[in-house]
């Protein structure tokens, strides 16, 4: 029966980000949540478990404040969680996150059969952690997958490429990153949340893990991507509709 690892990230809910006076990002009222894409990865792991049995392990790296995310992840079904936690594990770049996750997998979750990740994170959307993690572990990776199955020690996946769908097979263990339309993630109920508190969590501190690389990238600037368009609003009666169409004509848009 397969051991499936599902990775997730606790991210800023971007709809709460405000624009500061100088165009800087204002995070003062933000809330956090499990990255949308990772919810699909967790759900897919649970779907496979429902068919093949085995165990689903949730894995994340983050700051102590992300402890909330563990219960959230476990309420979505996984049996146990692994949490690489340190105040310095915030704002990591993909290379660092992948190195951390690889270290936890190697030391604490080997052997395993399949690793599932979201196609990218809700905040940086670099789409790197999955394939980088696979490279650290020396296993095959299949990205942008819309359908996945396990058959006779292999993972069979439909990956979406520019020309259509490529059906690929790889010997387990392997890593798969899933697209958001692969499933509809469950909404945990009260009972799921209660059960989640009783599930085992292994927290690993910085001292328990090998050192991670220094950042390779330097962020020189992070500014709000504002579209400076002053919206002219119109009503919906006939006169307003005509005024609207004339405005479009004036802009030579129609």
């Amino acid at each position: 029966m397969p051991t499936i690892i599902t990775c997730f990230k606790w991210v800023v809910d971007e709809s709460y980000i405000r624009q500061g006076t100088a165009g800087e990002l204002d995070f003062s009222v933000v809330d956090y949540r499990i990255s949308d894409y990772d919810r699909n990865a967790i759900e897919e792991a649970m779907r496979l478990k429902a068919i093949y049995g085995g165990e689903v392990l949730a894995l994340t790296a983050g700051v102590p404040e992300a402890t909330k995310s563990i219960k959230d992840a476990l309420s979505r079904g996984p049996d146990r969680a692994f949490f690489a936690v340190d105040p310095s594990f915030g704002g990591l770049e993909p290379a660092q996150t992948a190195a951390l996750l690889a270290a936890v997998v190697k030391a604490h979750i080997t052997p395993y059969d399949l690793i599932l990740c979201g196609e990218g994170s809700g905040d940086l959307y670099a789409q790197q952690v999955g394939p980088r993690l696979a490279e650290h572990l020396g296993i095959p990776s299949i990205s942008f997958v819309q359908k996945v199955d396990i058959q006779e020690g292999k993972v069979i996946a439909e990956r979406r490429v520019e020309e259509g769908i490529e059906v690929v097979a790889a010997t387990l263990p392997a890593l798969v990153t899933v697209l958001p339309d692969i499933n509809v993630p469950r909404i945990p109920g009260v009972k799921d949340t209660l059960m989640a508190s009783k599930k085992p969590v292994l927290s690993l501190k910085k001292e328990d893990l090998p050192p991670i690389p220094e950042p390779y990238l330097q962020t020189l600037e992070m500014k709000t991507a504002k579209l400076s368009r002053a919206c002219e609003k119109f009503g919906s009666d006939d006169a307003e509709i005509n005024r609207f169409l004339n405005a479009l004509r004036k802009k030579a848009a129609i």
Binding site: Y125, C231, F234, G235
Partner: protein
């Protein structure tokens, strides 16, 4: 050694990257190389478009995934120490780029939408979107090679100079892939590529049922445009093919007119319409975020407004 390297699956993408690569190469005084495994006869074209060297790995067999190129490119990089490697951000190449970056212990700027050279700092500056498109992040690499994946269509193809000189070099055959391609299901039905459409009418969550999308089709037809949609319409409702989904996880469009119907304007979608010349929208919620990024907006119910628009257009 050094140099700027281009890796792309398709010739048209390689040509776009050669154009920005040549620009940076001239500023940095370095050579430009391009990997070509599908179009072995494209050497002349690549050289005419700015390549100094065309590297020719043996094309993978039909059942081999392009991840077989990983050891080939990594081997070349460990031998020749490129200054930068730019990948076309197609699905397979994004995977390849991330794995190569991990193997070379290098940084990677994903989905880079702007490149420039800081002559003072002697560094390549890269721009990308973050937080679902709410922010623009400017990054530089602390170590070499500088790596980035660049979405197709980000840079325009340059002019061809048939007098340019360059060389082609064959690379060793790749090992066997860990991935086995069982089947490539090419798209059977022809789906419009809306990235070049002049007018796009986009359907959002405001539509109650699939049949109601005829309103979108009618308006698009009347305006001689194409239809597009937001992610929930294609991925949750599955009312339209994913190829028509505009936004961060879909396509980026640059029409003369983008017309959103029942589109709320979440950042992930708005990211895909940043480059539209005129943005118009109809939404019944006057506080919908789409109105803060639109040029013109009608506050009203799409079921009431769209028929009125069609009627007025047919009259005038």
């Amino acid at each position: 050694m050094g140099g700027i390297w281009i890796v792309a699956e398709k010739k048209e993408h390689a040509l776009e990257l050669l154009s920005i690569g040549r620009f940076l190469g001239n500023k940095m005084g370095t050579n430009l190389s391009v990997f070509s495994w599908r179009d072995q006869d494209a050497c002349f074209d690549y050289i005419a478009h700015g390549a100094d060297e065309v590297l020719l790995p043996t094309p993978p067999a039909a059942d081999q995934s392009i991840d077989v190129l990983l050891p080939v490119i990594a081997g070349e990089a460990q031998m020749h120490h490129p200054d930068a490697i730019f990948f076309s951000a197609t699905a397979r190449c994004k995977d390849l780029a991330a794995r190569l970056a991990a193997r070379l212990s290098a940084g990677l700027c994903s989905n880079c939408i702007g490149l420039s050279y800081d002559e003072g700092a002697k560094n390549i500056i890269m721009e990308r979107l973050a937080y679902g498109g709410a922010a623009i992040q400017k990054v530089a690499c602390r170590i070499r090679p500088v790596m980035a994946t660049i979405p197709p269509g980000t840079f325009a193809r340059g002019d061809s100079d048939t007098g340019r000189k360059g060389q082609c070099r064959e690379l060793p055959a790749p090992p066997t892939s860990a991935l086995k391609i069982i089947e490539l299901k090419k798209r059977t039905r022809e789906i419009k590529d809306i990235t070049e459409a002049r007018v796009i009418v986009a359907a959002g969550r405001g539509f109650e049922k699939q049949e109601d999308l005829t309103l979108v089709r009618q308006l698009a037809d009347r305006l001689e445009g194409e239809i597009g949609c937001t992610r929930p319409v294609s991925e949750e409702n599955r009312w339209l093919p994913v190829e028509l989904c505009i936004g961060l996880s879909g396509v980026q469009v640059k029409p003369d007119l983008y017309f959103g119907l029942g589109v709320s304007g979440q950042v992930q979608h708005v990211t895909g319409i940043r480059n539209a010349r005129v943005i118009a929208a109809v939404n019944k919620d006057e506080n919908a975020p789409i109105f803060s990024v639109a040029d013109l907006g009608i506050v009203g119910d799409i079921y009431d407004v769209v028929p009125k628009l069609l009627q007025a257009l047919n009259k005038g």
